[in-house]
């Protein structure tokens, strides 16, 4: 992906900037201009916590270009505690240890290395939740 294309999504990719709909209260990630729940043009910024749990997961052996150096890697659908779900790699974990319902937290890591110039993309991955959380 081109440099400008990555620059445009840096807020959401580096720090999980989402949105909250001021019509219906839906929490939205990634940001979009029309609420997916009520279809009204409404969006206020929302900083997501990065805490969530594994909804489902698999292991990618046959990695696409840019990801081959990481294969095999665990990939998951992560349900954030605010509600939205996202697709992300799991890191700092043996893929065989991953299970549905596993508590995870967001970290920023190298996502992929692109092309001959070795352009590196950074973004969110999730790892097993490290610390007991204050109630």
């Amino acid at each position: 992906m081109h440099i400008a294309r990555n620059w445009r999504v840096k807020k959401q990719r580096y720090s999980l900037h989402g949105e909250i709909c001021h019509h219906c209260g839906a929490k939205v990630f990634p940001p979009r201009d029309i609420c997916p729940e009520c279809a009204k043009p409404a969006y206020d910024p929302l900083q997501l916590s990065g805490q969530g749990e594994v909804y489902s997961h698999t292991t990618v052996y046959d990695a696409p270009a840019g990801f081959q150096h990481q294969a095999p890697y665990a990939l998951a659908l992560v349900r954030l505690e605010e509600g939205p779900m996202l697709t992300a790699q799991l890191t700092d974990v043996d893929p065989k240890e991953v299970h549905i319902g596993m508590p995870v937290e967001m970290v920023t890591r190298k996502l992929s290395v692109e092309g001959d110039e070795g352009l590196i993309q950074y973004g969110y991955k999730f790892r097993p939740r490290m610390m007991a959380r204050a109630a």
Binding site: M1, R5, V9, R13, P30, P36, Y55, S56, H57, T58, T59, V60, Y61, D62, A63, P64, A65, F67, Q70, Y73, L75, A76, L77, P84, M85, L86, T87, A88, Q89, I100, L111, S112, Q121, G123, Y124
Partner: protein
Amino acid sequence: MRDVAIVGIGQTPVGELWDKSLRQLGHDAIRAAMADAGIEQADALFVGNMLSGELAGQEHLAALLADFLGMRGIEAAKIEAACASGAAALRVGTMAVASGMADVVIVAGVEKMTDTLPAETTAGLALAADQEYEVAEGATFLALNAMLMRRYMHEYDIPHSAFAPFPVNAHHNARGNPNAMFHMDISPARYEKAPVVAPPINVMDSSPICDGAAALVLVPARRAAEFGSGKRIVRIAASASAVDTLAVHDRGDPLFLEAAYLSSHKAYALAGVTPADIDFFELHDAFSIMSVLSLEACGFAQRGRGVDLGESGAITLSGRLPITTLGGLKARGHPVGATGVYQALEVVQQLRGDAGPNQLAHAHIGMAQNIGGSGATIVTHILIGED
């Protein structure tokens, strides 16, 4: 609106067709369909294709095919909706004839996936997913389906072996289809031992990368008797399409194919039928999990119970709801942008009584459903054989 009939069909074998170019494949299927319909010219050509730009560096595909076929002067356009491109093209062709804007329309589906390295083809298929929020995170098409399958097995407490009847049935049926890619049976034991490619999905859950082309000739139903060679006239009783979120993670319930529910139920209403009236169903078994989710969303099974139709034998040629009667995506093959046209063509073969050893005893109303991406575009057609 006018009723629309299919009066010509043509196809190439599906497989690794190294001796045939993209344009040659399109040519062969279209010429066969034109001969079947008894036509020399058409008003328009709509071509379903997903990857010609990415894998062959060739866009503007419909103009190329019309030129190569000696049909300069007609209208032609490529229709792209990922793996649902074929059925999306059929729907555009249907709209053109139904509206009266064209009388004789050729709908083709063409795909060439084996000239490139497997990694390039896989990357091409991933173009159907969200580039910024699925693919940039390392997702592949296979991985997205694997996560759906794992969640399904978890939520309904279903073992992987419960999916075996779907590829077993597809492979068995492909043996009776000379145009299918594979002609060997697989056993449930072989299914369970197949190499895992993205857990829990194994090789036998996944449709193959291949080449192929299929074509249909559409005309107004009241003129259908002027065409063809006296074969049973097949009417397009319903054509319906719906979209869902592009990304799997944006769906409120990823295990329910909303677009399959919407397009199938629109189609039932248009055709004036219920799921119980459907004699057979060419569904989109790109992965075993997609067969099950499609059967549930279309109203053939309760949620979590789609696998029961496999276990009971209902999906076999002699069952209550035969599916993938000529091999499906798993064993006929899945040349992505062509698949939706193959499905409709195979429904026509059954309705005409031309399905050879796989001919169903009762084939009056057939349904075809073509799925783009992991469920973002779903197109459903219901075809009826006229008496």
